[in-house]
């Protein structure tokens, strides 16, 4: 595998196949965990770790996995890393763990790690799979952080807990409610489609 294609596998996750916008995968945590910048960022980092580790492991043992039981095998691998993330978050970032709550264990059934294991890691080498996982993970983190920032800035008037506007700012609370997540995601998707159209 040459260096240029590794770079290609990495960068495709940042724009061409950026998960929530281009692949429209992993939407459930995208909507639920983008209330604030730090929530989105934390969720993104957790997913990136799971994605890179599961991609590497699936790719490394792909020759031994019989294709009939590949999906249960992928789930065991993904679930293992998810539980590791959950325990580590509980041990070191307890407040963030409380906020993300159920969405951390739900990474197991998130389409992204399972989808990448099936569509990419099962067919490609370890280095390429790692690059693929890292690219998509970073793309996901950026998307969630951006969405979280937008919603936090307009919905609460802060960014990462820091006041942005003066005390006179009337928060647009609609943005931090569930419908605000849909509207925000829809608008961003539309903008990205517009930008991607030649």
């Amino acid at each position: 595998m040459s260096d240029t294609s590794l770079v290609k596998e990495f960068t495709k996750g940042l724009w061409k196949e950026i998960p929530p916008f281009r692949l429209v995968l992993g939407i459930c945590p995208t909507l639920a965990c983008s209330k604030a910048f730090n929530n989105g960022f934390g969720m993104g980092v957790a997913l990136t770790f799971v994605l890179v580790c599961s991609n590497i492991l699936v790719s490394a043992i792909r020759k031994y996995i019989p294709s009939k039981i590949r999906v249960p095998c992928f789930i065991v691998v993904v679930a293992t890393f998810v539980v590791i993330v959950e325990l580590v978050m509980q041990a070191y970032t307890y407040p963030l763990f409380l906020q993300l709550g159920i969405f951390i264990p739900l990474i197991v059934v998130n389409c992204i790690p399972l989808g990448r294991a099936e569509a990419f890691a099962y067919k490609n080498g370890v280095a390429a799979s790692a690059a693929d996982g890292l690219g998509l993970g970073i793309g996901y983190t950026l998307s969630l952080s951006f969405l979280g920032s937008l919603r936090e800035i307009f919905g609460v008037g802060t960014w990462n807990g820091i006041q942005i506007f003066g005390a006179d700012f009337q928060p647009f609370t609609f943005m931090v409610e569930a419908p605000g997540a849909f509207v925000c995601l829809g608008l961003l998707l539309g903008l990205m489609n517009l930008a991607g159209k030649k």
């Binding site: 249960p72 095998c73 065991v76 679930a79 293992t80 539980v83 509980q90 041990a91 307890y94």
Partner: protein
């Protein structure tokens, strides 16, 4: 047949490796997780009750077995002496269990303070047992052996207005707490000595 055996072996090995790995991570993070839970769930109440102590009560803690149950005690050092302990008891409120953190001076049995840690009472009514400092403050200075009762039941405790059932739950919880405190007192006094500075 060979196919089936291969599938069983692959999935079995994968499951075993994953289980073993997780057990390792779990045991290496267990102490840290326990501390985090104490810090964020019980920590605020403990800090308030043992206000002014010279040690970190979240670190200086010990456990005593009470029959089947394991109870944690947090030690507060005042003037170089470990004279105060904080511990959690439970009462039954309007909507389930109320966790009560109680601080007691082990020399005089006087309460240093009381705080609610966990509850599922009605927000704005029963939840004021946790949030209203006035309700909590009245317990300071009472003896843990007092027969806690709300005033409408002929006792000495001012109930949170609009939340008599919650207040009764707090009182009965305190009575239950004093029971196990007295039962375990010899062990508590013995173990607390170890924290003298």
């Amino acid at each position: 047949m060979r196919d089936i055996i291969r599938m069983i072996v692959v999935l079995g090995v994968l499951g075993a490796v994953s289980g073993g790995g997780l057990a390792m991570v779990k045991s290496s993070t267990a102490a840290k997780i326990e501390y985090q839970q104490i810090k964020f769930v019980k920590g605020p109440a403990i800090k308030e009750i043992l206000n002014g102590c010279s040690n970190d009560p979240l670190v200086d803690r010990f456990k005593v077995m009470d029959g089947e149950m394991e109870r944690s005690f947090f030690v507060g050092v005042f003037n170089g002496k470990p004279t105060a302990v904080a511990f959690e008891g439970y009462g039954t409120g309007y909507k389930g269990q109320i966790g009560l953190m109680v601080g007691v001076d082990i020399e005089t049995d006087k309460m240093l303070g009381m705080g609610v840690t966990t509850h599922s009472e009605t927000p704005g009514l029963g939840s004021r047992a946790k949030d209203d400092p006035k309700f909590r403050a009245q317990f300071k200075g009472m003896s843990i052996n007092d027969p806690f009762k709300v005033k409408t039941d002929g006792g000495q405790v001012d109930a949170v207005s609009g939340a008599t059932i919650t207040s009764r739950g707090v009182c009965s919880g305190l009575v239950a707490t004093s029971e196990f405190y007295n039962r375990l007192k010899p062990q508590i006094v013995e173990q607390a000595k170890a924290f003298a500075k």
